[in-house]
């Protein structure tokens, strides 16, 4: 995805996927890397016999929270304030970015370290702050790599999954001065660690995302594997936590359900290496929480798509999606790729993202893998219904479906079309069948064209039976 000034391009998924798929070796490398993560997830969840009950519990907790979201948000705000936290509300991305900027300006902050947050990606916070002369350093290793390459994450949990370690070696050689040709993961990680340590020391403010916020306590939890959020919130005096309003859960005890599922679903680990609980500012420090709507209330208002707000951003639907694995995260041209991204994107712009709900074979693997039971493939189908109903679907597709609908309403017409189609397939020379307009036939032979249809064979079968009976 090329992001110019925070605005994604509007290429359709099949077009954007073409260059990725064209590199067969690389696409298969990507597919295998993510399948390996899916496999690790399978091993991890099969070790939890009550996995399906956990999924059900998580789904119900989220459904309950979404049904009472306004109340829980107010409860959270009151409890957080009581703990000395500054709470800010942002209706959209612009308000969120302004709120963060105001805090930074009040502290005269010039340097910011940020741990992984898909919300700040969604709001395009980095380019906004950079325009205001503030240095923002992503401190998650994968995110730092894509930042150094001036790219966006291609996966919400594994942001640099599309990049090979040799390419990281070259990047680090150019920007961090590592040895040319060095691609040892340990060596490169150590170089990144040295580079980031300096950034942590120099930072005026640390920004984090939020994985779970607890209404009853006003506390929140940030999960990382690298401890970068912990360094980023321990060293600088000011901590800004940015969270989408759907991250809320009612009670601290509900955390037990979600923390058991998040890392298992995401990477196959029993739990993330760091699950840090924040309950108010540290001594002498300041803690801000920015609660962001940015379209979430609209989704909440749409019964068909409400369940997409259950998402805990584990990325399991991406790892399992056969289309995502072979087309890469950037082919979705949206902050969140894969099945959940294809459900979320159209609500942010149906015209721009109309092709995403069609970037799925509707195999349903995402629905079965989802730890919070979002019926992803049914939501993709429901979006297709909306896209066709609002005539956003290209005219050619709508017309061909209308013609199909008419054809199938008449058995005589259907028989005639079938008969003439089969006849043409048998009689026409190969060049007249396989040409550039026959998309099916580019890589595939067409099915056989039998002389008789089933209904003709069946009639003969019936006649034979009748004469046998007589």
């Amino acid at each position: 995805m090329s992001v110019a000034d925070g605005q994604p391009t509007t290429q359709t998924h099949p077009k954007a996927a073409l260059p990725f798929v064209a590199n067969d070796e690389r696409a298969h490398w990507h597919d295998k890397a993510l399948w390996f993560v899916r496999h690790k997830r399978d091993v991890a969840v099969h070790a939890v016999p009550e996995w399906e009950q956990l999924r059900e519990a998580a789904s119900q907790i989220k459904a309950h929270t979404m049904a009472h979201l306004a109340d829980y948000l107010e409860q959270f705000e009151a409890n957080a304030k009581q703990r000395g936290v500054h709470v800010h509300w942002a209706a959209d991305a612009a308000e969120h970015n302004e709120a963060v900027l105001r805090i930074l300006q009040r502290h005269g902050a010039k340097k910011v370290v940020k741990s992984k947050s898909m919300l700040t990606e969604e709001c395009h916070l980095n380019p906004f702050l950079e325009r205001h002369g503030i240095e923002v350093i992503d401190t998650d290793l994968g995110e730092r790599i894509v930042q150094m390459r001036h790219e966006t994450p291609s996966h919400i949990v594994l942001p640099a999954i599309h990049i090979k370690k040799e390419e990281v070696g070259q990047l680090f050689h150019e920007q961090l001065g590592t040895d040319e040709g060095a691609d040892d993961a340990k060596y490169l990680t150590e170089a990144a660690r040295q580079h980031l340590q300096q950034k942590f020391h120099d930072a005026d403010v640390g920004i984090t995302g939020v994985n779970f916020a607890i209404a009853a306590t006003g506390g929140f939890v940030v999960c990382t594997n690298e401890g970068n959020a912990d360094l980023g919130t321990s060293l600088p005096p000011v901590h800004i936590a940015c969270m989408g309003i759907e991250k809320l859960i009612p009670r601290a005890s509900d955390l037990g359900v979600f923390l058991r599922m998040l890392a298992r679903s995401a990477t196959g680990q029993p739990i993330t290496a760091y699950s840090t609980h924040y309950h108010g500012p540290k001594a002498g420090g300041e803690l801000h929480i920015v609660l962001v709507d940015n379209g979430r209330s609209d989704v909440l208002g749409q019964e068909k798509f409400r369940r997409s707000l259950n998402c805990i951003r584990c990325g399991a639907c991406m790892n399992t999606c056969p289309v995502y694995r072979r087309s890469g995260g950037h082919s979705y041209s949206y902050t969140v790729p894969g099945p959940i991204g294809s459900v979320l994107a159209p609500s942010r712009g149906m015209k721009e993202h109309y092709s995403l709900p069609y970037a799925s074979s509707l195999c349903g693997s995402c629905t079965d893998v989802c730890p919070v039971k979002i019926d992803l493939h049914h939501q993709l189908l429901a979006w297709r219904g909306e896209i066709a109903r609002q005539k956003v679907l290209p005219w050619s597709k709508r017309t061909s479906m209308k013609l199909g609908g008419w054809l199938f309403r008449s058995p005589a017409l259907f028989r005639l079309a079938g008969w003439s189609g089969r006849l043409a397939l048998r009689l026409l020379p190969r060049w007249a069948i396989y040409h550039r307009f026959n998309v099916w036939g580019r890589q595939r032979d067409l099915p056989p064209a039998p002389k008789q249809s089933f209904r003709a064979l069946y009639r003969e079968h019936q006649q034979r039976r009748r004469s046998d009976g007589e």
Binding site: W35, P322, L362, D375, A388, L457
Partner: protein, 284 residues
Amino acid sequence: MGFTIDRDYNAQVEETSSRRSFANFSPVCIPWAPMPQVGLFIPCYVDQLYPEVGMATVRLLERFGCQVEFPAAQTCCGQPMANTGCNDDAAPLARRFLNIFSPYEYVVCPSGSCTSMVRNHYHDLLPDESGLKALEQKTFELCEFLVDVLNVESIAGRFPHRVGLHQSCHGLRELRLGSSSELVVEPFGKPRQLLAGLEGIELVDLARTDECCGFGGTFAVSEEAVSCMMGNDRVHDHESHGAEVMTGVDMSCLMHLDGLIKRQKKPMRVMHIAEILSESEVRP
């Protein structure tokens, strides 16, 4: 008209698996039991392109004592339109289907995907239609009809070949013909169970037991590049595990895979599961 997905997907699944016991009789063993009256639902593309799959289904059902009738007014269940989102074009076809098939005791179809269209998606197209519930409850994919309704445990026959079972997604995850690899449930599989009962058959293990083949209806054309890559990967999985024959419950997936196999002149054969199960006695 908009699509309304108001029913819990997993509740549907539970419903599907809990309503199995209403027809616990075995017409083969009990001579005085009534013959099940089956309205045969043949997918449009099977009717036109794979007539032998339809005939194999007829033979199989008749062999198990069913009185089979193919209502000739049927055309297409409307899935291509509905899956494109064109629900206004699909709804009249759903209504036609309901009228045509309502009179039958059972509706049986040699396709998981088309069966799921009727059972899991018609209620979105015809939300207030009386009689739809009854249709949903009596519509079955062929293998589940054999296993759940006719209580067939295994089928006598020989098929001495190495066979790869492609688990078509809608049969697997929408009808629950088997356990999908994502869920933590006891493993089961109705098509596999029927195949495994054949003498001499060797079902090959695959690296990815239930990954999608990439057919996906119009997806096969609109996302041609990804679709074919997915298909080639499935073919390769079966091939590298020594499958001579690739089979499944959906001819649409197999049509896509066979198209790739034929183009690349690979030796693997593709057969619908009904062809293997019905022919196994006569043609080993």
